[in-house]
């Protein structure tokens, strides 16, 4: 899927998203929840980047800030040549059709009072210049694409199963021929067979239409199936960004290692890997620790980690890690120390 000449479609540089904390009677601004605190990555055209990490580490916030459903505090989000973070409202409106989101909960994101045809047709009404008949034709075409029977067009969402509802959400996201889709936990609420249907569908669409995905999920087996590369986040920052197979075979960052060791094998009769149980305080994004964000729980922590925040650097071809183990020559394995730069990352496969 990825060839050497692949170009980044999405390029995120030092993205920050802070939510202000107001306290006291006067609601004074006394601090910030640093939900996303300096995140950089890129996604090539036709590629799927998996985004995983602890609950509350900022995955959804990254997804929303990328599509400017939140106003980012700082940073650049270049999608197909335009910096989305600074577009004017009018330019943003024009850009919207090319970037879409599939939300985690299909039930909550579909208006129960609209028919399926209305839901899928809504973005067409707003952005496409189609007459009534053309619109209906496009709605049917989309329903075919996601495998929904046309005769369901006038039904309401409650009459569908979870997997069918998720497909309605996908059809709506596809309506305007987007190039880039953020899938935020698109399968978490579905049973395994329907999960498989939805993932197969996303892959088929990618192969046919060349779509680019950011796939947010806590299901590491499914991420292994669908993603080309995977970014592991911890407390608002990227800990490791690696090609899929390399990451699953040998995670480099101690957090990535702990995360992968915790996956439950779906069979009690099979031996599991040695689980690394993380100890220590889980820090709050309102008050991240000095030095490395992971230093309060890292089993391999040493002095430097509590003083200096490690940068995300390339330590092996295509593998980026933010950890002093890999950059401090006294403390562990060394790699090529190339600080991350905009054009280096992501095209390196």
């Amino acid at each position: 899927m990825l060839d050497a000449g692949a170009q980044p479609l999405v390029q995120v540089t030092d993205l920050k998203m802070y939510f202000p904390i107001h306290t006291g009677l006067l609601r004074r601004h006394t601090g910030d929840v640093k939900a996303v605190d300096g995140v950089s990555f890129s996604i090539n055209t036709g590629e799927t980047l998996g985004l995983v990490g602890e609950s509350g580490c900022g995955k959804s916030t990254v997804g929303r800030a990328l599509l400017r459903l939140y106003e980012p505090t700082a940073g650049k989000v270049v999608i197909d040549g335009q910096d989305v973070a600074t577009l004017t409202p009018e330019a943003l409106r024009k850009k919207r059709p090319t970037m879409q989101m599939v939300f985690q909960d299909p039930q909550a994101s579909l208006n129960p009072r609209m028919t399926v045809a209305d839901i899928i047709g809504e973005p067409l009404q707003e952005h496409a210049n189609l007459d009534e008949q053309g619109r209906l034709r496009r709605i049917y075409e989309l329903m075919d694409q996601v495998g929904l029977n046309r005769s369901f067009a006038n039904r309401y969402p409650y009459a569908f199963s979870g997997g069918q509802r998720q497909r309605i959400g996908i059809a709506r996201a596809l309506a305007l021929n987007p190039k880039f889709i953020v899938c935020d936990e698109p399968i978490a609420a579905l049973d395994v067979s329907i999960q498989a249907q939805v993932v197969n569908l996303l892959e088929d669409l990618q192969n046919r239409l060349g779509l680019t995905y950011l796939f947010i999920s806590h299901d590491l087996s499914m991420v292994r199936h669908i993603a080309d590369r995977v970014a592991v986040m911890y407390l608002g920052r990227i800990a490791e960004l690696s090609p899929r197979d390399a990451l699953y075979a040998r995670p480099l960052h101690p957090y990535a290692e702990a995360l992968l060791s915790a996956v439950n094998e779906p069979d009690p009769n099979r031996a599991r890997r040695q689980r690394i149980i993380l100890k220590g305080d889980v820090p709050s994004p309102a008050n991240p620790p000095k030095g490395c964000n992971f230093c309060t729980r890292c089993p391999k922590v040493f002095d430097l980690c509590r003083q200096v925040k490690p940068d995300l650097v390339q330590v092996e071809p295509g593998r980026f890690v933010a950890c002093h183990l890999y950059t401090n020559s006294n403390a562990g394995p060394t790699g090529t120390q190339a600080p991350i730069s905009d054009n280096q990352q992501g095209v390196s496969q």
Partner: protein
């Protein structure tokens, strides 16, 4: 042995129907199971198979109409929950049975702070003062791994991430040290490390307090990690029921067998394409007179179209204590020459 203890919860022949404009929906049909102190019963099954409706029915949580809990018994500590007054039922729900709902966003109240919602049952059922309840709420949030818990008491649900809201629900359900915890997809929004932490917490509570647990999930990895026994549901019925190791090693029902094949693995070969179970779930417009899985079953027999197979034991143990299955076909038939 847990086997010998009397059940804390005994559900027999539960049946729930919804009245809709398009007719009846027979969501739950003759579901029976029991739960002993300190035991974890895992419940799996297809989306729409009646897992949530079963649990909501037994706790009287479904609005009626449209729901009609038509039959069965739900024995908790010797009392039938389907017969007691709404007021008694309410105190059972708060104090004896903790419930984690499937969707944390719709079950947390958006206009009250998180702290407020955890403290409410503590004050109501445990008679705590405001200060005591606040301290206990902080403790509970820390138990489920929410950092900076005291400050977070003042947050509103929308200021929490999806997984954090789910953990708040777990904290509320555990607040009054219930005898039975019913958790409906409680960890779907959680990453594996926090999930592991919650599973450890639950195992500890069950050991220390003898809490019995019903854990509904589609994540077979979680089932493998914590369940003692597993109940597989399909089309509003119990399709198969077995001790956890037995279920994974020796699945009998074609639905269970298909289900176990659809999961991608974290180790092992990476498949090019995921397996799915072809076809649609049944509509359940009437009480099923044939096997609800028949239309999608690769092993269906003539008989399956005329009769709804009841549960029968496969290991000689009494129903509900060992391995049983509701199916006319059996893997032994395959061994005897039928094509796989």
């Amino acid at each position: 042995m847990a086997d010998l203890a009397a059940p804390v919860l005994d559900v027999r022949g539960l049946k729930t129907v919804f009245h809709t404009r398009a007719g009846e929906v027979h969501a739950v049909n003759s579901v029976s199971f029991s739960l002993r102190p300190g035991e974890v019963l895992g419940v799996v099954g297809e989306s729409g198979s009646g897992k949530s409706v079963t649990m909501m029915s037994l706790l009287g949580l479904l609005p009626s109409p449209p729901a009609d809990v038509r039959g069965g018994q739900v024995l908790l500590g010797g009392r039938d929950l389907l017969k007691i007054s709404p007021k008694e039922l309410q105190s059972v729900r708060g104090a004896k049975v903790g419930f984690v709902f499937q969707d944390p966003m719709t079950s947390l109240n958006p206009v009250f702070t998180v702290g407020n919602q955890i403290m409410e049952p503590l004050r109501k059922h445990m008679g705590m003062t405001k200060a005591q309840a606040a301290d206990r709420a902080v403790e509970l949030l820390e138990l489920v791994g929410i950092p900076d818990a005291r400050r977070r008491l003042k947050s509103y649900p929308h200021q929490f991430s999806g997984g954090m809201r789910q953990r708040v629900m777990i904290a509320i359900a555990l607040a009054c040290d219930p005898d039975v915890l019913i958790a409906d997809e409680p960890t779907t929004a959680l990453d594996v490390t926090i999930q592991a932490q919650i599973l450890e917490l639950v195992k500890e509570l069950r050991q220390k307090l003898g809490m019995a647990i019903i854990w509904i999930t589609h994540d077979l990895g979680v089932i493998a990690a914590i369940a003692d026994r597993v109940m597989v549901m399909y089309g509003g019925q119990v399709a198969e029921h077995a001790p956890v190791k037995e279920l994974f090693a020796n699945p009998q029902h074609p639905y269970t067998r298909a289900l176990l094949r659809t999961i991608p693995s974290i180790s092992g070969e990476r498949e090019a394409r995921l397996q799915v179970i072809e076809g649609q779930p049944p509509m359940l417009t009437a009480e099923p007179a044939s096997c609800p899985f028949r239309a999608r079953c690769i092993h269906s027999l003539d008989r399956c179209a005329h009769e709804n197979p009841g549960r029968h034991g496969v290991d000689g143990k009494p129903l509900g204590t060992g391995h049983d299955v509701a199916c006319f076909w059996s893997p032994d038939l395959m061994a005897e020459g039928e094509d796989a």
